[in-house]
Symmetry: C2
């Protein structure tokens, strides 16, 4: 983070024709981006969105309102441009890439989709480690490779999204392990479980945590035990973005679990993250709190795919435009208070 540019941007905000602080989070977002991009007037010209998709063995425990086939069906929907994130990417002029890191059945060759399947879904994390250590490294590497492609293409902002039936269970397990919170406080309805379903999910997560033992091992081991291919890929991408100085907008519940894993594995990664939205999934607040994050939006979204981060993109752009284009008191001949 370029603290000098951050301070220069902060000073500029104080000179713009408005009461100091009156643009609230739009001011702080511009100042944060100035520090990240190392530029007193930051901008978002080339946003890059990657969706990592994978399946989860834990769906066998009955933790999702949707059948597992939806993961592959949604990969096809991404390819055809019909999913929410496709619409958001088009509206924002963002590049969109889909990486299949482990769907149960390969959806076949599809335009815009990279086949990088590590396995046909993870193992059931309530019974055994979700990934082997090697598989987890492969997924992290897929994330790093995606960040490298974004950088090669000149991206100035990175959004990672995910798709994977069952992945709120894996994300909840990770958040519990990293924060020490009880499963009942972190598990929620996901795509639409009823109260009995949420209780079952919490029991499944409790079983996984018990199996895994006290979460005292290295953060990467916890990720392999309880995560998923797409979560590990997001984690790898976040770490690579931070190392390269590319700002990230973190999406909702699952992305925040990956962000938490990234910060535990590579402390300092958090400094390169902005947070798009507060998810309707109740456990998101715990992950945000652990990351000391205040998201921009709170619209009751709970879709994933990077949709909450992509929805925040126009606000970040407005923040940059205001910061760059407003007149100063001196330029406009306006009296200061």
């Amino acid at each position: 983070i370029d603290q000098g540019m951050r301070e220069a941007a902060f000073a500029r905000q104080g000179q713009l024709t408005k009461p100091p602080g009156s643009l609230g989070r739009l001011e702080t977002a511009a100042v944060d981006l100035a520090g990240m991009q190392g530029c007193v007037t930051p901008g978002i010209e080339r946003p890059w969105i990657v969706i990592f998709a994978a399946d989860h063995g834990v769906v066998a425990a009955g933790v999702s309102a949707f059948p597992q086939s939806v993961t592959g069906e949604m990969i096809r929907n991404f390819s055809r441009g019909g999913a929410a994130i496709c619409v958001l990417a088009r509206e924002s002029g963002a590049q969109l890439e889909v990486v299949d890191v482990g769907s149960v059945e390969s959806p076949g060759e599809l335009p815009g989709v990279r086949d990088a399947r590590i396995a046909a879904g993870t193992a059931d994390l309530s019974q055994t480690a979700a990934m082997t250590a090697e598989q987890c490294q492969q997924a992290l590497a897929q994330g790093r490779a995606a960040a490298a492609r974004a950088l090669d293409a000149g991206a100035d902002l990175f959004i990672g999204g995910e798709m994977g039936i069952g992945n709120t269970t894996a994300a909840a397990a990770l958040i519990c392990a990293y924060t020490g919170l009880a499963p009942a406080l972190v598990c929620g309805p996901g795509t639409g479980l009823d109260a009995a379903g949420v209780s079952r999910k919490a029991a499944v997560v409790a079983q996984a945590l018990k199996r895994q033992g006290a979460a005292t091992g290295p953060a990467v081991l916890t990720l392999a035990q309880l995560g998923g291919f797409e979560i590990a890929a997001l984690c790898g991408a976040y770490i690579a973005c931070a190392q390269a100085g590319l700002p990230v907008v973190v999406d909702g519940f699952i992305a925040s679990a990956a962000a938490l894993a990234a910060e535990r594995m590579a402390p300092g990664t958090r400094a390169w993250m902005l947070f798009g939205h507060a998810s309707a999934e109740p456990g998101h607040a715990a992950a945000l709190s652990a990351l000391q994050a205040q998201p921009l939006l709170d619209l009751g979204l709970r879709l994933g795919e990077g949709s909450g981060a992509a929805a925040a993109l126009p606000l970040l752009r407005l923040a940059c435009a205001l910061h760059r284009d407003m007149a100063t008191f001196a330029e406009a001949g306006v009296s200061q208070g």
Copy 2:
């Protein structure tokens, strides 16, 4: 409101490839706009922004952190394109018009500014009625005329903004009168008063309410007693938009006071309003509650000028794009939960 279109839009949302309700407020915004625009797939192609500017006699009581000269200076800044709302309008491709309904000193002829000065500022509302009944009618008529220009130009969404040093005091007085809340609960720092200044402001509002007597008269009389030219103009514009079926996005504290006046004067006006943001000005919550309004954004803005409504514009557009362009389960061959 076209309830049939609202229901058709709601049904469409249930068919799009996402868990039902998972786009949260972006779903309800699209459904609300469908009912307002009478179209199953609403859109925002021609947003229209009007800033009403005027001065306030009550600044003599020491209720503002900025000098009164700033109103005229900011009118010039609007004309030159340097203010926050100018940047937001440009970024959103919105038409922007400025109407001077009563600055203390005319800033002279300026491009993009209509000179419609009713008087050189209002009278001091703590001592006497802010406006005569006739002046209040003139200001309401200026608002109606602005709405008519927007409609003539084919606008499909209306945003009203305001500028006027001292106008958080007038807005607070109106909100107190309409809701019965005590001044201490509604008055806040505005452009930047310290705690002593806020107390002074609350005392000034209490004096005005006492002078005016129990707020049992017609709503329009309360508006004349305690309001301002720009607030009455906003009120007239909102009523005219509702009567013509043009959706409105209400901005922050002052605009919400005008919205409250509009709903009290012409019940049903509220149905044509969306709410852009929750202001950092503490009394805004009271006005929103009285209007049963849940704003889209909560970014700590407290600038006025319509900036919080304009910042919500891209989100409303994303809501329309998602509603229009996402694939249905049937189109995409995705299984429903």
